[in-house]
Structures are given as C-alpha cells and as structure tokens.
Symmetry: C2
Subunit: 398 residues, 2 copies
C-alpha cells in the first residue's frame, strides 16, 4: 500500500508478502547527442526533467514487480536521451537523423519508388507521439532485460507483473498501462479514463502455437463430451456478438481464454494479457509456454494539462486491481470529494489522507468472518496500492 | 446517389458508372424451429420483423456492391431464423440447444474439467449480442458466397465493396460497418457515432504471407537506399507512438501500409482494411493475394431507442465516403437544422429533402475548373450516397 507524492509509503498489513511495488521519481534526462552533429551550444545542452509514478502488481512471485519498479524509469530515460533537443524544438521532428557513424543527414525530398503514388505525402509525426514511442520501447526493453536476467544462473526473475506508469513531461501527462491496474481522473473536465487492460491475447492469430491443446473459439462455459452434436453459443476471434454452432470434437479442447472479468484466464493460467515478465510461465501440467500470447506493450493515453484549468481538487487516482475490485468510479469520486473537502485547499497532506482513505476503504476491517467493508461485503483480498496525483493548485507538481 | 426511407432514389449524375449501391427493406423472419423441440403453439410461431438500410460503396468494379445490396439482408434473415423464439422470450438465451438430429437438450449443470476453476461461472450472453453475432456471421457468409461465385465460370464477382448496414429490431438500432462509410446521429442525446472503419490490417501478425516483398514496419515515408545507416522514424506493429531506428537493408522493402487518411493503402493497393469481396485482388505487378490481410467482419454498435426520447428532428445520417470526404460532422449538423426547420415536423418529405441537400452539398456545381462547393473547394469526385433515418415523431419507423 502506497499513498503519495510527495512520498509516503504505508503497508496495508494484510499479508507478509506484498507483491505490489511502487516507484515515484523526478528523472533528469541529459541529451545523448546533437541532432545536427554540430558542436552543441550551452543552451542546447539543457536536459529535460520528467515526473514519474509507477505501480507494479506482481504475480507468481515478486521478482518482476521489484525489478520493474527499480529499472523501468531508467529505460524511459534512456529512450528519451535521443529526443532531448527534438522535444524542446517547436518545429516538427525530423523524419531522419544522421547515423551514429557520422553519415550525413538525408534530405527530405522524396523520390517516389513503387507502384503507387500514395507516398507523395509524408506522415506527420508529433512530439507527443515520440514520447509515446519512447515509453512503448522502454516497456519492451524492460521485458527483454527480464528475459536476459532469467538466463543468468542465480538471477532468475520470478513471475510477472502488471505495470501502470504516469509520466509528466513538458506539460503533458502520459499514462501507460500494461495489465489490469487502472487510473481515474477526478476533474472538472470530462476525462473518462478507465483503461481496461484486458485486451485480446496475442495468440488468436497464432494457432500453430496452441499445440493442439486449445481452441481459439470462445464458449460461455466449458463444453462437455456428452454435448457433442448439440448446438452451443460460441464466438470466433473476429466476433463481438454470439451465435450457436454444432459442437464438434475439437470444440472439447480447452479454450485459449476462459472465464470472464476477474476470473478470466488465458490458457487456463494467467489473468492478464499484457504485462512484464512471465518468461517462465507454462500452461498448467504442460510444457506449452504462455509468453508468446502475452504483450509487453502498454496502452498509452495522453492528457494535455496545458489545455485545461485545474483546481486543487482535481486529482489523478492510480490504483492496482486490489482497489478497483471492491470499489468503482462513483465511490472513488465520492471519497475524493469527502476527504479533500475536510482539508484546506493548500494543505499538501490532504492528498496523502485521500490515498490512505482509498486504501483503507478497499481493505475493510477484520470481523468474525474475514475483512469486511462497511456494507458487510468482503474487503479486497489482494494487495492494494494507490497513487493520488494532484493536477492543479498548491501541492501540484506543475 | 440515394436519398431515402420511405424510398426515393436519385442519381447524382456526375458519372455514368456509379459503384455505390443501396438497399432499404422491411424483412420478415419466420422462425426455423422450436427451441424445445416440442410442437409449436400458435403464439410461438409469430415471426419477427426488422427494418434494414444498407449502403455499399464498390471499388474495382460494381459486382460486389451489387451482389451485397441484393443479398446481405437475406443472410441476416437466415441467421436470425434460429433466434426468433429466443429473442421474443425475456429470459436469458439458452447456452445450449438440441442438435438438429434430435439430440436431447443438455442440462446447464457444469462439471468442471481442466486445471482451473475459472469455469465455475458461466458467461452471460444477452439477446443483443445474439443479434450482433447474427449480423457478423451474415457478413462472413456474404463474403464466402462472393468467393464461391468467383469460382463459377461466367459469374465472376468484380471488385469489392465497403458495407454500412443499419438493422432496427425489437427497439434497438444495430449499426454494422465494414469499410470507410460513416454514420452520424443528430440527436438531442449525445451519441458521437463516427465509425472509423480504418482498422489495422489483419496481416501484421501474418508475416509469412508478406512474401518477403513487404515490411511490417511503418515509416513516415518510403525509405531510400541512400539512407541506409541513418536513423529514421518508424513504428512497429504494437506501437502507437514513433521512435528512431537505424535503417537496414530489409527496411527498404515496401510497407504493408503506406500513406495516411484517405491516401492510406494496404500493400500499395487498397484503401480499406474491412469490406466484402476482393477475392481476386493481387498486389500491383505481383501475384501476392491481398484478401488474407482484409477482414470481412463489421464493427457493430448498438443503440437502444427505447432508452431515449426522440423528437422529429432526431435523425441518423448514413453516408458513403463521397459525402464525408468533403464535409464534416458540424456541417452535416447545420444542414440537418437548416433543412428540417424549413418543413412542418409532420411532413415526411422533409427527410427526403434533407438527403438531397446533403448529396447536392457534397457534389457541388460545375464551374470553370470542375465541380465546386460554395467555398470554392472541389466537390466530391466520388460517388455520394446518403440515407436519412428519422428516429422519432411522425415519419419515423417505430
């Protein structure tokens, strides 16, 4: 359990082995090289700063979450090093840069080659999309580093983790999500921002990796042998709706995805389709690897803070599924209102109090039969981590 | 050019070969069989009616569009025949039905088989998702029929088509879109409904079908041989942002998707990734087939008419890209206001007048240098088709 910014950590005390990890840093990025190759003037050598918050919800061991919390922001910094000058220059990013070996930069005059004239126009690439690309590549490099560490004896990275990361850079908030953690923006401005994290697994188009043990068709429940010849509801990889089909022998195979919502499992094993790590993961009682069906790429959304006015009550709430399993957007909004209004707008401790209230509200209190919420429902049995990030007014980071 | 419901057809007169087709029908669906297998009571044998509007924007010949306009609603009817009783029964759809050979119906008690308990819950399937599934399968069967006709000598189906279909059934509007036509709802209720149609092509995960001629990486423009060793902006299949990479030999291959917006082309050949037909389509100056990279499945959205109050000015505007290329949501909204307010609310000809105004507005008038819009920009050079569907009040279909 983490509350935070400017930095307070509290453990919920429900279990000894908390697999959640968190990280909150101000990261300075020094430019790696000049775009033009010319000697850099002092003004050009000015670096960039970004604010960083990361929540990492581990599974099957805490190794991946621990490693990601320690290193992911460094990968992001590395990716941004080439962009320091480009991001500070208001003109559009150059399409092409000189090679590292000192090849001269290319001109942007385009000679058309190929059967169509569709290349007469160049795509416009924004500064924003360069930062998104840097974050995406950082996630991939983090995942590859976990794979390398796995191969070193004694440095086995246990398990995998979901990662929810916020980067604030040059007036914009980038939210990158790989997994089932979620973020919610409590603003006057409308920003319905519930990243689902539950995307289709990669494997639907890789039937050759299913090893003849799984079917890519989805059924509302497991098909039983005695139902052969009957017609059951199903959907194919391209369908969002359902239809009936006659049950055949191969439909008795185990489904690639079974269950729904929190109980959904890919290949009967893992509950998320995005995340870092899990390089060792095999299908239960099988040698079939699951990693090829998972994606390490996050879904990234961008919020331009400069486009909106924000007051001290506008906050971003980041939470692992331990929070979101037992609460919802409306309840979180009510807690935000209740807690923040009890403090002076310029009291920075109000955000810490809010994070604590959200965590304690989701945990519940121990009673006769387990930890219970005020409505007597079971409290979250999962690790619970929350970041509260103020977007405007005193105590904000801008 | 079509205006329509209750049924008027006008050709824009710009070209002799209009590849747009349209269809507007009231379709009666008779139940195919009883769910229980028991003798059907008279009340159960009552069929269903749906209202149907379809716009088909052909390319590379008018055959596919013509065939789809003639047959797609029949495929939808066939798919709905098994659902007639189920859709009229308020209880949730049965997961399993008796087989056609008279196998007895299965019980819904689930015996868990397999390594995980994630099957203890059954998925909930709604009536709505059955209709969505029926429409999706109808699109696929339509596409398969085009493939079969292609193989018959003398019945070659030319080209392909985008398809935009609206089905009104049991109080709900289903909008199914495969291609780049669009629909816009002008309502008091907020329904921002701009179906994009431009999805990623299927082929990103099928590198073996790229024949070594294409790269799945995306660059902002075609890479030139002299740029080898330099660093250029690119993105990989999993990225939404951009990053720089060192240009290598295989990056000189032609890209799977090039260009952007209206000028985007899959394998340098076709401008849409969804649609019907195109079974003969090959990459320019190549024998590489493009069909495996296209999807015939529509994106389907559902609008529950019973949840909202509608007035006679609330309309659904369906248009092929000939309309949307030269106008936008705001201009369409202004035209809706202007034309409808010039008529009495209960005058059904106001919707025909609106469709005509939208088509004529996008076409422009012939002047010195081509067909021009009032703002002197070029009018649409494409075929233009528009349906205006009133959602409430006199003249509506409900």
């Amino acid at each position: 359990m983490w509350s935070l910014w400017p930095g307070r950590v509290i453990n919920a005390g429900k279990s000894r082995h908390n697999e959640d990890q968190a990280c909150c840093e101000v990261v300075y990025v020094e430019g790696r090289r000049s775009v033009t190759g010319a000697p850099r003037e002092p003004s050009q050598s000015q670096g960039l700063c970004f604010y960083y918050w990361g929540l990492f919800d581990g599974h099957a061991g805490g190794g991946a979450a621990e490693m990601a919390s320690r290193l992911l922001h460094r990968h992001i910094r590395e990716q941004l090093k080439d962009l320091v000058e480009i991001l500070q220059d208001p003109s559009p990013p150059p399409l092409c840069l000189p090679g590292t070996s000192g090849t001269p930069g290319c001109s942007d005059s385009t000679h058309l080659i190929g059967p169509q004239s569709c290349w007469s126009s160049q795509k416009e690439v924004t500064h924003e999309s360069l930062v998104v690309g840097a974050i995406e590549n950082a996630f991939q490099l983090m995942d590859e580093q976990m794979a390398r560490e796995r191969e070193r004896r004694g440095h086995q990275v246990e398990g995998g983790c979901c990662a929810l990361v916020v980067v604030y850079l040059l007036g914009k908030v980038y939210v990158a999500n790989a997994g089932d953690s979620r973020v919610r923006c409590e603003c006057n401005t409308l920003w319905p921002f519930a990243l689902s994290g539950h995307s289709q697994p990669q494997g639907f188009l890789k039937p050759e990796l299913l090893g003849g043990e799984f079917t890519h068709l989805e059924f509302p429940r497991r098909v039983q042998p005695k139902e052969l010849g009957q017609r059951m509801l199903y959907r194919d990889q391209n369908m969002t709706g359902w239809a009936y089909k006659k049950i055949e022998l191969e439909d008795l195979r185990f489904p690639l995805v079974c269950g729904e919502g929190k109980k959904a499992r890919v290949m009967a094993t893992i509950g998320v389709t995005r995340g870092l790590g899990d390089h060792n993961l095999k299908v239960c009682s099988s040698t079939l690897p699951i990693k090829p069906f998972l994606s390490c790429f996050p879904e990234v959304r961008v919020y331009d803070l400069t486009q909106y006015e924000h007051c001290p009550d506008d906050v971003l709430v980041l939470g692992t599924d331990g929070l979101w399993d037992v609460t919802n957007d409306c309840e979180v909004a009510a807690t935000v209102d209740r807690v923040l209004s009890a403090y002076e707008p310029n009291d920075p401790s109000r955000y810490t109090a809010l994070a604590q209230a959200l965590v304690l509200g989701a945990r519940g209190t121990p009673r006769d039969r387990g930890w219970r919420l005020p409505n007597n429902k079971l409290g979250s049995g999962d690790d619970i981590s929350v970041f509260v990030i103020p977007l405007g007014g005193p105590g904000s980071y801008s």
